[in-house]
């Protein structure tokens, strides 16, 4: 049973078995409300060093938006994102990397995609060659190194996107559905890359719709519903005995149509 390190929805802390890992980043009342629409609504979230946080929730719940807010790609309309106790800035972003829901491949070869990511961080020469080699090998893309990245299959593109993110040696890695629409073998390849990264001490924040994956890779789960964080806790606990109606309905595969004023009443199946 992993350490509980997240606030529960009622604001209390789950008793940790040992001292929690140090805080890496925090969302404090983060909201994103373009034209008043609360797409991400008043989210408080702690992300601790070396932990793997899984973000779940139905389509359009605001998972990708939350991730972009945490990564600093969009600015919250209210609230703040804190990195190591300070407001998130460009240097903090350099310690993070993100794999997008739809991988963005430059119009270049596989190897040039990797080289570019390293070059913009000022990494060149022998060090860059070494890291590119390592990334190609880890992602098993060696044979495809010279191919245009955009002709790769979906699974290969996801592997490249992940390898490119990891080559930048981030402290925290955001993954937005990195295995959506991949076959079991590709999924396993990606999961292994994530596991290796975690073993090296990289903190992981990952969005997935796959319960099995959440169980395999997650220490903690944050469940989003209609832009709000309705449940957080240790992965096993949230998956076995979800306390919120939205999470329970979602995990049972039911449609949760309840309005937010009564998040604990689940609809009749």
């Amino acid at each position: 049973m992993p350490d509980a390190c997240l606030k529960t929805i009622d604001g209390g802390y789950v008793t940790p078995a040992s001292a929690p890992a140090p805080l890496l980043m925090q969302a404090r009342g983060v909201s994103f409300r373009p034209q008043g629409k609360p797409l991400v609504d008043d989210i408080d979230l702690d992300i601790r060093e070396g932990r793997r946080l899984i973000v779940m929730g139905s389509n359009g719940a605001g998972k990708s938006l939350l991730m972009r807010l945490l990564h600093g790609l969009i600015a919250p309309t209210s609230g703040e994102v804190v990195w190591r106790g300070k407001p998130l800035d460009r240097t903090a972003m350099r310690e993070q990397a993100m794999v997008f829901q739809r991988p963005v491949m430059l119009r270049r070869s596989v190897i040039a995609n990797l080289q570019f990511a390293l070059a913009v961080r000022g990494i060149g020469g022998a060090e860059r060659r070494r890291r590119v080699e390592e990334a190609l090998e880890q992602a098993r893309l060696g044979d495809l190194a010279k191919r245009p990245a955009r002709v790769l299959s979906g699974g290969e593109q996801q592997r490249l996107a992940l390898a490119r993110a990891l080559a930048c040696t981030p402290r925290l890695l955001f993954l937005d559905e990195p295995t959506a629409s991949l076959d079991p073998a590709s999924t396993l390849a990606i999961e292994n890359l994530i596991a290796t990264a975690h073993a090296r001490g990289i903190t992981i924040v990952m969005i997935t719709h796959d319960k099995g994956q959440a169980r395999r890779l997650g220490d903690d789960i944050a469940f989003l519903h209609a832009g709000r964080l309705v449940e957080t806790g240790p992965a096993a606990r949230v998956l076995e005995t979800p306390s919120s109606g939205a999470a329970r309905a979602w995990l049972e595969g039911r449609l949760y149509l309840d309005d937010l004023s009564s998040p604990h009443t689940s609809p009749t199946p």
Binding site: M93, Q96, A97, V104, L106, R107, A117, V120, R121, V151
Partner: protein, 235 residues
């Protein structure tokens, strides 16, 4: 007056025999137009890329301006350049009027907005796809412009070819500032205009055929580029 078939036959003969006047005129045309396109690209590519890749106050105005300048009437450009370069004009002392340099200047003014405006569009579209990935990777402003220009290279080559096509077929501006002087500033379009009015239809038609061939080649090149870019998913 000979019939059209005979004229065409004689015109083709001029081309095949490599008529010296013809070659000289074609060479000057290409020199003027290629120089103008190269200079227009040196200015228009970075300018278009900057407007396409960055948000700044007045950006909308610049975009509208560039698009409007794309349609500059050549004779007006010719007139303005003429006024600048004429003896009484501010650049008169340079004595550039009725030289190939004057023609290059006029064509550069015509082509630069075309290259810049089309580049702006291409780069803006590409940037909307790359923006978040670049922000995530921490790509700085210079790297951003360079990477966008490089990744749009196929589209931008077709932009340059579009500029070339416009310039090589242009007559109004070059005739005003070049003066259509034999062996000095006579290019394909201005020669066609002059020789037709003089009744020397063979030379006019020969140049017309060459101009048409250039247009076909340019368009074929654009299509071939597109096709090869699509094949490697670089389009």
């Amino acid at each position: 007056m000979q019939d059209f078939a005979t004229t065409l036959w004689n015109a083709v003969g001029l081309i095949l025999l490599g008529d010296a006047d013809l070659i000289e005129i074609i060479a000057l045309s290409l020199r003027v137009t290629l120089s103008a396109v190269v200079i227009a690209c040196l200015i228009g590519l970075p300018l278009g890329a900057l407007v396409g890749a960055f948000r700044f106050p007045g950006r909308g105005v610049v975009t509208v301006l560039l698009n409007a300048l794309m349609g500059l009437p050549p004779v007006v450009v010719g007139l303005v350049v003429y006024l600048m370069l004429s003896a009484a004009g501010p650049l008169g002392p340079l004595r550039l009027l009725y030289t190939p340099t004057a023609m290059i200047i006029a064509q550069t003014i015509l082509v630069t907005p075309i290259v810049a405006a089309l580049t702006r569009q291409v780069i803006e579209d590409l940037h909307s796809e790359y923006a978040e990935q670049f922000a995530s990777l921490g790509v700085g402003p210079l790297d951003r412009v360079a990477a966008l220009l490089w990744d749009a290279r196929y589209s931008l080559l077709t932009v340059a070819l579009a500029g070339f096509g416009r310039a090589v077929a242009e007559v109004g501006a070059v005739i005003i500032v070049g003066g259509n002087i034999n062996h000095v500033t006579r290019v394909m379009t201005t020669t066609i205009a002059l020789e037709t009015s003089k009744g020397n239809l063979e030379l006019a038609l020969a140049l017309g055929v060459v101009l048409l061939a250039i247009a076909v080649i340019v368009n074929a090149a654009v299509m071939a580029l597109r096709a090869s870019a699509v094949r490697s998913a670089y389009a």
